[in-house]
Symmetry: C2
Subunit: 212 residues, 2 copies
Amino acid sequence: MRQKGILTVISGFSGAGKGTIVRELLDRYDEYALSVSMTTRSPRPGERDGVEYFFTDREHFEEAIRQDGLVEYAVYCGNYYGTPRAYVESQLAAGRNVILEIEIQGALKVREKFPESLLIFLTPPNAGELKRRLEERGTEDAEAIARRLARAAEESEGVEAYDYIVVNDNLEECVEEVHRLVGASRRAPVRSSRFIREIREELQDFVKGVQS
Amino acid sequence: MRQKGILTVISGFSGAGKGTIVRELLDRYDEYALSVSMTTRSPRPGERDGVEYFFTDREHFEEAIRQDGLVEYAVYCGNYYGTPRAYVESQLAAGRNVILEIEIQGALKVREKFPESLLIFLTPPNAGELKRRLEERGTEDAEAIARRLARAAEESEGVEAYDYIVVNDNLEECVEEVHRLVGASRRAPVRSSRFIREIREELQDFVKGVQS
């Protein structure tokens, strides 16, 4: 029987390199699939509909909410972000680790619905580096960067909810480390529940056999 | 500053190969140190005082309890088992991962006192294999084996308290997997608390800087 995939949530501070890490995992290993989120925010330069996000309007997004067609959704900086459910479930059943690149509110909702999901938080090595990366990106003005730093300060209060916190100091090492952590996470009891149930039943059978 | 070692508890069913895995970790990697337990049980053939265990009597063991000289202790099959505290703390401070090979009662007490400890549970691939290994060991009669199987059935109820459950199907793979899991565990928030505190403080400083 095929092993079910792990629903892998990747979150992290703006400028932590989430997008790059996720792309590298998908390029290097067949066992990953990307869940493309739906959002009402405007595309950034270079972003393609159906690749980075499904870009939609508020009316269509709210219809998806009403139809229970989203694993989770959240509002961030005034826009909706959500994860369409059908694709996620089919890929997990096919043995693929489905990656959701979402922020902390969404991550906590996913964990609630899928207790066996894996939550990974990416961070630059320190806050100064985070600020520098945001400034270098050059797509946002000082006010937007200040807003992102304030948001990062808020998010940092929630990182204990994650399974792993990974420092992205070196892209190459970070990709491989995330991949190893996904593998390691299979050994957590919450993701070994079938094995545990089976060995318990067998042991109980031996004990009953001795007693009878 | 030197990274503190991880207090690594290795438990598992009788016959899961705990002793062999622990010896291999110690042989292969300098970063591990073994905590030698103190016990009132009799030595098995080949066991040496101060190597596999410190063998002692009930009177001396109870004196150590009164002196708060043990990280944990427990009674198992009518004998005391405990972990002398001083050695554990000095090795952790020196950056070594201290391995405690103890059973589930002790593991839970260690976790209570050391929330950042790592709990790994070893198991054969299934209960039939466990029974076979106990029988092949040839050191115990049928009644003792039945008692160990009953104990395993009890212990199986507690495995969700562990961080990782590792199947020892192949010694070579199992040793390396345990080693990787110890590494992975450094990324759990409970073992990254200093990093988290520092980045939070830095982010708060940026936010205050912007507001003032």
